[in-house]
């Protein structure tokens, strides 16, 4: 599903080069549930944006479903993000002036789906996360937990094969966190691949595999060791 070949991301600031992601090679198979843990500044978000087709590695390659992501054109890569990858953000990143339904329609609109079909699929996605009665509400009219569920519906609506989540439970209360993790389990059960960047031991504990990032270096954490920083 996802493969990194000596992928490295380095930034140069004021003449100094910092390797946010050191040369990394790894494979994540289809249907895996992977947690990426590590302290702040260890390069977790850089890892996520590189594997998500949003930021080209300085060197190396990233393969998704057999395609080298950064050998695609900008438009082709955007299409892959829109149809094969689903993003979950810590702060949900809902568009504030759109309703819940419209927010969920956005990926479908960007993929060129007809408005009527957008509406049908977005409504179904919101029903699935238990928000059928909140279609016309704007994010500011929803609770934090409801906002994250709208964001999850938006992630799901294009039926992505790979879900990349950045601290998905960081802003949630315990009940909502459980609900979100339950949905992640469902997504995993449907055969989707999940890569979740997290500080939350509960989230890491639910994953089947853990990668530890320290100073840009990715290490495989042996099963059974769940020392989340």
């Amino acid at each position: 599903m996802l493969r990194l070949e000596a992928a490295c991301k380095a930034y140069t600031r004021q003449g100094k080069t910092v390797e946010a992601l050191r040369p990394t090679s790894l494979d994540i198979g289809a249907g895996e549930y992977v947690a990426v843990v590590g302290p702040s500044g260890s390069g977790k978000s850089t890892f996520l944006t590189v594997v998500g087709g949003m930021m080209a590695p300085t060197t190396g390659k990233v393969w998704l479903e057999g395609r080298s992501l950064y050998d695609l054109t900008v438009s082709q890569r955007a299409a892959v993000r829109g149809t094969r990858i689903g993003f979950v953000f810590q702060t949900f990143n809902l568009v504030p002036y759109l309703t819940a339904l419209e927010n969920v329609q956005v990926p479908l609109y960007l993929a060129g789906i007809a408005p009527k079909e957008q509406r049908r699929r977005a409504t179904a996605a919101l029903e699935r996360v238990g928000l059928a009665d909140r279609l016309g509400h704007k994010p500011s009219e929803l609770s934090v937990g409801q906002q994250q569920r709208v964001a999850l519906a938006r992630t799901l609506v294009n039926d992505p094969a790979l879900i990349l989540a950045d601290e998905p439970t960081g802003n949630l209360d315990p009940d909502t966190r459980e609900l979100v993790l339950g949905l992640f389990e469902e997504f995993h059960g449907e055969g989707r691949t999940l890569v979740v960047v997290t500080h939350d031991p509960a989230v890491a504990a639910r994953s089947r595999r853990t990668l530890r990032l320290v100073a840009g270096r990715v290490d495989e954490e042996p099963p059974g060791e769940r020392n989340v920083a």
Partner: protein, 404 residues
């Protein structure tokens, strides 16, 4: 969900920014429309006033030197009358009126008087109609286009416009001095060369040599004086723009045996006034383009800056750079259209109010200005949005992860 949904809802989300932006473009377009509308009507008024001064081009025999505009026909040399037909039948643009004249000395009640033969306009119009020529119709862009002139049937218009619509073979128009000296009034009879003429009208005083003349039909004067088919001068009322564009040269080419001269001051005055007004409009247009465009661009840059996270999120969700650009260009189109329509309405209203106050002219809205206003407004808003939109499309989508 369509692009317009995103554009429209985003604008509604930020009403203050929207109104500020709209105000900038509406005020700019309003100023442009108001100035241009007043300018056009002022030009037409000036053109009308200058038309009242009479002919601005004279066709003279080669050997004649112009000493006095109002006495340009007071010399012994002649031109063939056929030249008049040549001009009337030509397709020269910008010839508004023709007035051939032949002056002959004669007596009235035993006292010397100058009898001037003139050809009424109706005869040229008939010839022009036969040939399909464009004479007597102002070309597009001529200053006084569409401006109503004096009632054509009024014979007294000869005093000001140097042209008369119709004149019978035995009718005469009498200058004010001659009428006073001989006690003539409208409908009286006067005798020249032994023939009786009916006084069609006594002309109002002009303070020129015309006050001491009697005007009769050219062909009658030619026949009675025995001069044959000749004239001393052909006065031409030409459109000033066409004169500047080469009417004199064209007339010279058409009549190489004659001398064609302009009443330079008349032409220059209108040209200068028109140029001044056009330049004023251009200055306002430049101000609109630079100040309005800069204000719009600043607003768009600010909009991009405050929407960085949203744009990054859209990119993460699959938006291509073109899709991002379309959001800002769509917004520019809406603002440009609204600004153009609003600016046209406000500008026309301002012009209708300011025209009589500032330029002493009555002003009506100019429909074509609506298209110009919308066009200028769209160009300015689109240009102002392009760089911010391009910058938005090049944003690093990682901002959607970084910013909290």
């Amino acid at each position: 969900m369509r692009t317009r949904t995103l554009v429209w809802k985003e604008m509604r989300e930020r009403p203050v920014a929207l109104l500020t932006c709209l105000l900038a473009i509406v005020l700019g377009v309003t100023a442009q429309v108001a100035v241009r509308t007043v300018t056009v009507h002022s030009e037409m008024a000036v053109a009308l006033e200058l038309d009242a001064l009479g002919a601005n081009v004279l066709i003279l025999p080669k050997g004649v030197t112009l000493q006095d505009y109002y006495a340009a026909d007071m010399h012994g040399e002649t031109l063939p009358e056929e030249y008049v037909g040549r001009v009337a039948l030509s397709k020269l643009q910008g010839v508004d009126n023709l007035s051939p004249k032949l002056c002959v000395p004669t007596t009235l009640n035993g006292q010397p008087v100058t009898l001037t033969g003139i050809l009424p306009k109706s005869e040229f119009q008939a010839k022009a109609a036969w040939a399909g020529a464009g004479v007597f119709s102002r070309p597009v862009g001529c200053g006084a286009a569409g401006v109503p002139t004096d009632a054509p049937a009024d014979p007294k218009s000869l005093a000001r416009k140097r042209v008369i619509e119709t004149l019978g073979e035995r009718e005469a128009l009498v200058g004010s001095e001659v009428a006073a000296r001989h006690g003539l009034k409208d409908g009286d009879t006067a005798e020249f060369f032994g023939e009786k003429f009916t006084v069609l009208a006594v002309l109002p005083a002009t303070g020129t040599v015309d006050d001491a003349r009697v005007f009769a039909h050219l062909h009658a004067v030619q026949a009675l004086s025995g001069k044959g088919e000749v004239v001393n001068v052909i006065e031409v009322v030409g459109c000033c723009k066409q004169i500047a564009g080469g009417l004199v040269d064209n007339l010279s080419a058409l009549l190489p045996e004659a001398k064609v001269v302009t009443i330079a001051q008349v032409v220059k005055t209108q040209q200068n006034v028109n140029r001044l007004m056009e330049n004023l409009s251009l200055v306002f247009l430049a101000v609109l383009l630079s100040v309005g465009g800069a204000a719009m661009a600043g607003t768009f840059f600010a909009n991009v800056s405050e929407r960085r996270k949203e744009i990054g999120t859209l990119m993460a969700l699959g938006a291509t750079p073109d899709a991002v650009v379309s959001l800002f260009v769509g917004k520019a189109l809406v603002l440009g259209l609204a600004g153009g329509v609003g600016g046209f309405l406000l500008g026309s209203a301002a012009a209708m109010w300011l025209g009589p106050q500032l330029a002493n002219v009555a002003v009506r809205p100019i429909p074509i200005m609506a298209a110009v206003a919308v066009g200028v407004s769209l160009v300015v808003t689109l240009l102002a949005s392009l760089l911010p939109a391009w910058r938005a499309s090049r944003l690093d989508p990682c901002v959607c992860f970084r910013e909290v």
